[in-house]
């Protein structure tokens, strides 16, 4: 026989039938089923294949710790691999497939790996695959050849490539008390805190609140535990200071009591609501956290413990009580503690035959004998399971007499016919979050478990209180008492006096026998998913990998998708025994986030599909409407070219640049960083910040300024306009706007707090248009009112205010293109209006709009520097900007700029290059004195920017070349092996065009 649905019982809704598929076969289940319970109910026992040996595996647990029953969930083309069947709520249309098998789950060719078991021992790959020392497979080749096949064999599920159409969201939450876990302890804690008026969040990773109360069969407050839990959750729902989060896994405990949780909002729905996120990522800042996370049951390690049909005892009990599913008809139990007896009775009541309870302990309490009697089970005390039988499903097991002190097995093995074996190796409190928060777990020899430190250890930035099984208090009565105490304490209240709910529960000693492994012939699994056996642990010991971290890393124990939730302690115990040391001396792992795996989509949240905001200038829509190809510059979008039909990029920028130099061009410069520098000490501040003087600048004038970093290297440049005695408008490069702002703020706050200066980002306040070319002034004259724009009213670097088309503007005469040029600033909301007015006024003069490519071309022709040259490694001298280094005053960087390395003669200096072969140059190409195309070597520099210069009719570039200036007039070669572009060049001054500036001075 195989598993089946019981006739009655469980918390499923038997009136609601749900249809789903697994590996292409259709099944039905009921509302309230997990994929695991529904498949079990359909008699399915084979769920997956293990990682290394591809052994057949069933379902081992009924919760988040499941190592075996991993499936891939499909939603159309979108795949979600490696999901535990125990955590999937079935819904109509659910499509799941098994994984890590070929061609099918039942017939998997890679199962042949099992034959190589001894050869594939822990760490085997470190000892081989090194290949020959000589010949074609030397070096890394042989390994890479082998690795190719290893990689294909490894891996679990297959990820999808189709873009996920679901949405993910993040939610920031604040509360007084976050309760993690909603078993009896968590429910009591939440209620106690809520009753005190605290803002409470209760997070439960399962769909239903109540934890073990939902399946323990216990009676709480005179009603079935499940009803009590439902009532308690209902009461909490009525509080407006409580937020209930079902299906929410708190997975990370970060500094400052910031916890991260994943809410699976729509995974259980066939059709999510409009705008509903699939996952919601909660970042919760809690004043206090109550950890009521319960505990995990541990498996026992014995030969064949991984056969489908072998399951944890609690899981069997839960399948029967909560899901109305019998995991088998003839069930045996194998335990080292009392908790399995309750499970036996529950399964008996649900309709199974309990064929035997095999207990490693020689003596049993009368209570346990009584429970076994009620379950009509044969007791085999002082016995152990030494083998399991069957193929892909359990058919029987073998037991032998067992001495739990010596571990010795004696007597003949007896066969027991069973289709399900439930095992219990004791319980491990779920201390992961406390461990993440920095708590050091303490070994409790009685409980045979690591417990959170008690009394609550205070980790400086984390405040949590534990309650229930998390603290090692495994009974429901204790959980209820500790839960309420924790809730009250977290809410800052004193102990309440009202009576606690009563609990009727099966008796039991919480302390297991210290037995973890039955050593007998055959593979005994410690880490089920990664196929780490007890022998692997002992091999690690023999080879000296004895510290817990070495054990993990050498054997991969605990590194699988379940992160060793149930395997860590048995593994430690086996290592401890090999070492002859107590378990705590082997150590325990510090748990790290996440508690259980978290979808990457949820972490990207609203940035999934929208990684960065778009920053748009006021004239953005005009550019688009007028055919601009946009260029992404940091977060900004800027026109690259305004291409005409059939034009290449080069043709477009050449046309734009040419037109500008011949008549006039206009470019959007709104992205330049703009900082208002205001206050009585503003001029003094600028003198300190810039290498050159600004206190001498007259009101109504602008000046080009250069900033250095503290280490004396060039930082940023731009013009700063003096709008008033105490009022400056600083401009920065687009890329450095934020950095410069921060730099200024730092000095004002930290270094020179005595200066009365305020700095404010006004980048977005102003729209900026630069209009340049021989016709620029006539165009302005044609549209500007309220001021003259002639040389007298508006000399070079002068500023005037006037109006264009009724809008107030500020005009500064400065030039980047090298032409007579003006920057026109107006309120950003008028940007398009003024821009269009300028375009209109320019029509009779042949004005063109130009983009970054033409801007770059004209600046290269002029030899101006930008971020490509001020790259964080160049000095003012390297860029021939030493004329800007004032000797009259100290400034930021002045003390450091003359260190030996910064004035060395072989530094890279800015030069111009002309291609002598009249072919295009490439950015990033290098410069060499000796051309060697086969083996390029001895680079003396590189090209920072290049273009075809319409003004010169040549392909030119700016470059940083060793000893640059001294090479003016000399020949060299461009060497670009990446693009196979080599050729002769002439090194010239960076000022290619109009070096004396007669055009811009007009």
């Amino acid at each position: 026989m195989s598993p089946r649905r019981t006739d009655a019982g469980g918390r499923i809704d038997r009136l609601r039938t749900i249809r789903f598929t697994f590996d292409g076969a259709s099944y039905t289940g009921h509302a309230g089923d997990t994929l695991a319970s529904a498949l079990l109910a359909n008699g399915v026992t084979l769920f997956g294949r293990s990682f290394k040996y591809h052994r057949p595996r069933g379902v081992l647990t009924s919760g988040v710790e499941e190592p075996n029953a991993l499936v891939t969930v499909l939603r159309g083309e979108v795949r979600e691999p490696n999901i535990a069947a125990t955590m999937i709520e079935i819904h109509d249309g659910l499509t799941a497939v098994s994984q890590n098998r070929f061609p099918s789950l039942a017939w998997d060719v890679s199962a042949i790996n099992q034959l190589g078991g001894k050869l594939l021992s822990a760490g085997f790959y470190y000892k081989t695959f090194m290949g020959p020392v000589f010949g074609p497979l030397k070096g890394t080749r042989f390994w890479m050849f082998c690795e190719h096949f290893i990689r294909r064999a490894a891996g679990l599920g297959r990820a999808g490539t189709a873009p996920d159409t679901a949405r993910y969201e993040r939610m920031n939450a604040f509360c007084d008390v976050l309760v993690v876990g909603s078993g009896p302890a968590g429910l009591m804690a939440a209620k106690a805190a809520a009753d005190q008026g605290a803002r409470v969040i209760l997070a439960e990773l399962e769909p239903h609140f109540g934890g073990s109360a939902n399946w323990s069969g216990e009676v709480i407050d005179d009603m079935p535990g499940a009803d009590w839990a439902a009532r308690a959750a209902g009461q909490l729902e009525g509080h407006d200071n409580v937020r209930l989060l079902p299906r929410t896994t708190v997975w990370g405990y970060y500094d400052g009591n910031t916890l991260a949780a994943l809410e699976r909002v729509t995974d259980h729905k066939e059709n999510p609501g409009k705008g509903e996120p699939r996952h919601r990522y909660w970042a919760i800042r809690a004043k206090t956290v109550v950890l009521a996370t319960g505990s995990f049951e541990r498996p026992l390690v014995f030969p064949g413990n991984d056969r489908p049909g072998v399951m944890l005892a609690y899981a069997g009990e839960r399948y029967a009580n909560e899901y109305g599913v019998l995991p088998g008809d003839r069930i045996a139990l194998f335990t080292n503690n009392d908790s399995a007896y309750r499970a036996a009775l529950a399964l008996k009541k649900a309709g199974a035959a309990i064929v035997a309870i095999i207990d490693v302990r020689p003596e049993l309490s009368s209570e346990m004998r009584k429970l076994a009697g009620e379950a009509e089970a044969e007791i085999l005390s002082g016995h152990a399971v030494v083998a399991t039988e069957g193929g892909k499903a359990l058919s029987g097991l073998k037991v032998q007499r067992f001495d739990m002190v010596s571990g010795a097995l004696t007597g003949d093995a007896r066969s027991i016919h069973a289709d399900c074996l439930l095992m219990s190796g004791g319980w491990s409190p779920t201390i992961h979050l406390a461990s993440q928060a920095g708590a050091r777990a303490e070994w409790n020899a009685a409980r045979q478990a690591f417990l959170p430190p008690r009394p609550t250890q205070r980790w400086p930035t984390q405040q949590w209180i534990g309650a229930g099984a998390f603290t090692g208090s495994f009974s429901t009565a204790e959980a209820i008492a500790e839960g309420r105490a924790a809730g009250l304490s977290a809410a800052g209240a004193a102990g309440a006096l009202s009576a606690l709910p009563s609990v009727e529960a099966a008796p039991g000693d919480p302390d297991p026998a210290p037995v973890f492994e039955i050593r007998a012939k055959g593979k005994s699994f410690v880490d089920f998913q990664h196929d780490v056996t007890a022998e692997d642990v002992r091999l690690a010991h023999r080879e000296g990998f004895v510290s817990v971290e070495h054990l993990k890393r050498y054997t991969t124990l605990g590194m699988a998708t379940d992160q060793g939730k149930i395997s860590n302690i048995p593994g430690l115990a086996i290592m401890a025994e090999a070492l002859g040391k107590p378990i705590p001396e082997v150590g325990t792992t510090r748990f790290r986030p996440p508690f259980s795996a978290v979808s990457i989509g949820s972490l990207a949240a609203e940035r999934f599909g929208d990684i960065k905001p778009e920053r748009l200038t006021p004239m953005h829509d005009w550019h688009i409407a007028n055919g601009a190809t946009m260029y992404s510059a940091g977060l900004w979008y800027r026109p690259m070219i305004y291409g005409h039909a059939g034009e290449t990029i080069e043709q477009a920028y050449v046309r734009e640049a040419k037109a500008t130099r011949e008549s006039a061009g206009i470019v959007d410069v709104s992205t330049l960083g703009k900082i208002a520098v205001q206050g009585p000490d503003a001029a003094e501040f600028l003198d300190r910040v810039y290498t050159n003087m600004f206190s001498t600048l007259a009101v109504g004038k602008a000046r080009y300024g250069l900033m250095l970093r503290e280490d004396g290297l060039a930082f940023d440049d731009g013009t700063t306009w003096r709008l008033g005695e105490q009022d400056f408008l600083m401009t920065t490069t687009t890329a450095n706007a934020g950095k410069v702002m921060q730099h200024l703020e730092y000095f004002l706050d930290v270094i020179w707090p005595e200066l009365k200066v305020h700095v404010t980002s006004v980048t977005d306040e102003w729209a900026g248009a630069a209009i340049g070319g021989p016709k620029a002034r006539p165009i302005l004259a044609a549209c500007v009112t309220g001021t003259a724009v002639d040389n007298a009213a508006l000399p070079f670097m002068g500023i005037v205010r006037g109006k264009i088309s009724g809008v107030p503007v500020m005009i500064c005469r400065l030039s980047f293109s090298g032409e007579m040029a003006f920057e026109v600033y107006c309120g950003a909301g008028y940007g398009t209006h003024v821009w269009e007015a300028l375009i209109e006024a320019g029509k009779p003069f042949g004005l063109v709009a130009y983009g970054l490519e033409a801007l770059g071309t004209m600046r290269i022709e002029k030899g101006h520097v930008t971020g490509a040259e001020i790259d964080g490694r160049t000095t003012a001298r390297d860029l021939h900007l030493d004329w800007m280094l004032s000797k009259k005053k100290p400034f930021i960087g002045s003390a450091m700029m003359d260190r030996e390395g910064l004035i060395a003669p072989d530094r890279l200096e800015l030069v111009g290059l002309i291609a002598l072969d009249n072919r295009p140059l490439n950015g990033g190409a290098h410069v060499v004195e000796v051309l060697d195309e086969a083996n390029p070597h001895d680079s003396i520099g590189h090209i920072t920017a290049c273009c075809y210069s319409p003004a010169l009719g040549k392909h030119i570039a700016l470059a940083l070349v060793k000893g640059g200036k001294a090479r003016h007039g000399s020949r060299a070669f461009v060497s670009d092996p990446l693009r196979n572009r080599f050729g002769p060049i002439e090194i010239v001054s960076n000022h290619f065009y109009d070096p004396d500036g007669s055009r811009m001075h007009g």
């Binding site: 599920g157 990820a159 990446l978």
Partner: protein
């Protein structure tokens, strides 16, 4: 000790794997050594290995405060590459690359160095030019590099979003084919075994608590396992450099300790066959042989020795990952961890004699330490043995900051969190 090979593996399998011996001895410290190497991580172990192998200096102890390899050698994303911009770095890391290429044989330990390539993506023409500058710089030093077009990249990594409609479309990339990944723990274990086989004492659970001095000169260390004297004391404790130097009375260093987080997903069938980096943020990813996607991003950005990360970086890294791979939203992050990095003031390391007589210093690895492991130990061993740097590490002095001879590959200046 037995050679590792397919034959020894088979022989042992037939005898139930009962005869394997420890990979290295658990040594107790002697009273004195020729050289003490503080730090049983990758760099300390490789230093000891090359002291023994290249310079015949075997009276060496490696002191490790915890378990061997507990620092960054076991906490990184395992990338090995030599695709640097500045010649000093390129030469050094290329030397490392050459050692990597023969490391498994040299150590008789498969460190699983797999030359699956490292591809840096560019998202604007300007970035592409920057990559070209770097690639050409490499080529002029004899290091392999090639540019890739978007179409070529799409063929290499089919899961990548190469559409023009991406927020930051991919315009090309720089590929170093010889770059790759290695099994990080195996590097520590292989060097430990190799050093041990040449007579080096590896002493675990031995924390240095102070320095023994004769005037200025360092003459040994005091440890939790007693005083140990040595002619030469070498520090390879990146991540803890500040702490250990304080024990020597040196309070300030051109170093800040920062946390760098790394992440791994659940195991997946192969989908990414190279190392890939994002150009519009700080993100790098590869896939391990076990199938997990291994990836990371920026530093947390503040001084820390806590090996615990903060949440904002987690979110940042994941959103960058999905910007490249929108198909991976349903893949799940399985584990995260933090390593403490020595962030230097120019992003480049320090391998030098001094700063005190009798002391040798190896630090400042930022997040480039893993790939440097062979060359770092090789150069440090040379420096210790000969009391002067090899030409490969000659630029990596401590006084380069004072002298303005910084090696600033990223051009960020003295802001360690930006390197």
């Amino acid at each position: 000790m037995a050679e590792y090979s397919a034959f020894s593996l088979l022989k042992n399998a037939l005898t139930g794997n009962k005869d394997w011996k420890p990979a290295w001895r658990k040594s107790d410290p002697k009273a004195s050594y020729d050289v003490i190497v503080i730090g049983g991580g990758g760099h300390g172990l490789s230093t000891a290995y090359y002291l023994a192998k290249e310079h015949g200096i075997t009276n060496v102890a490696v002191l490790e405060k915890g378990w061997l390899g507990s620092g960054n050698v076991g906490r990184n994303t395992t990338a090995v590459r030599s695709n640097y911009l500045l010649p000093a770095n390129t030469r050094f890391y290329e030397h490392s690359m050459k050692l990597w290429e023969n490391l498994s044989h040299d150590l008789n330990y498969n460190v699983m160095f797999s030359q699956r390539g490292c591809l840096n993506l560019a998202h604007t023409p300007g970035q592409f030019d920057d990559l070209a500058r770097r690639g050409n710089a490499m080529r002029h030093l004899g290091v392999d590099a090639e540019l890739m077009t978007t179409a070529e990249i799409a063929r290499l990594v089919p899961t990548l979003d190469v559409s023009g409609s991406a927020r930051f479309p991919i315009v090309g990339g720089l590929m170093q084919r010889r770059a790759g990944t290695a099994r990080h723990d195996a590097v520590a274990w292989g060097y430990a075994r190799g050093a041990d086989r040449r007579g080096v004492d590896i002493v675990e659970n031995c924390e240095v608590t102070g320095f023994l001095r004769d005037g200025d000169r360092i003459t040994g260390v005091s440890t939790t396992r007693g005083e140990i004297r040595a002619k030469k004391v070498a520090l390879a404790v990146a991540g803890s450099t500040g702490r250990v130097m304080q024990l020597a009375g040196i309070e300030t260093m051109p170093i800040e300790s920062h946390v760098l987080q790394a992440f791994v997903t659940e195991s997946l069938k192969p989908i990414i066959d190279t190392i890939l980096t994002f150009g519009m943020g700080h993100f790098y990813i590869s896939q391990s042989d076990k199938g997990g996607l291994v990836y990371g991003g920026d530093l947390d950005g503040y001084n820390s020795y806590a090996q615990r990360g903060s949440l904002p970086i987690v979110d940042e890294v994941m959103s960058e990952m999905l910007a490249l791979f929108p198909g991976l939203a349903r893949v799940r992050m399985l584990r995260s961890w933090g390593g403490v990095c020595d962030m230097s003031m120019d992003g480049s390391p320090i391998i030098t004699t001094g700063p005190l007589p009798g002391m040798y210093l190896n630090c400042g690895w930022c997040y480039g330490g893993f790939k440097a492991t062979p060359a770092s130990g090789w150069c440090f061993a040379w420096t210790i043995a000969k009391d002067e740097p090899h030409e490969f590490n000659a630029p990596f002095t401590l006084d380069r900051f004072y002298r303005g001879l910084v090696i600033d590959d990223k051009g960020q200046g003295a802001t360690p969190r930006l390197h």
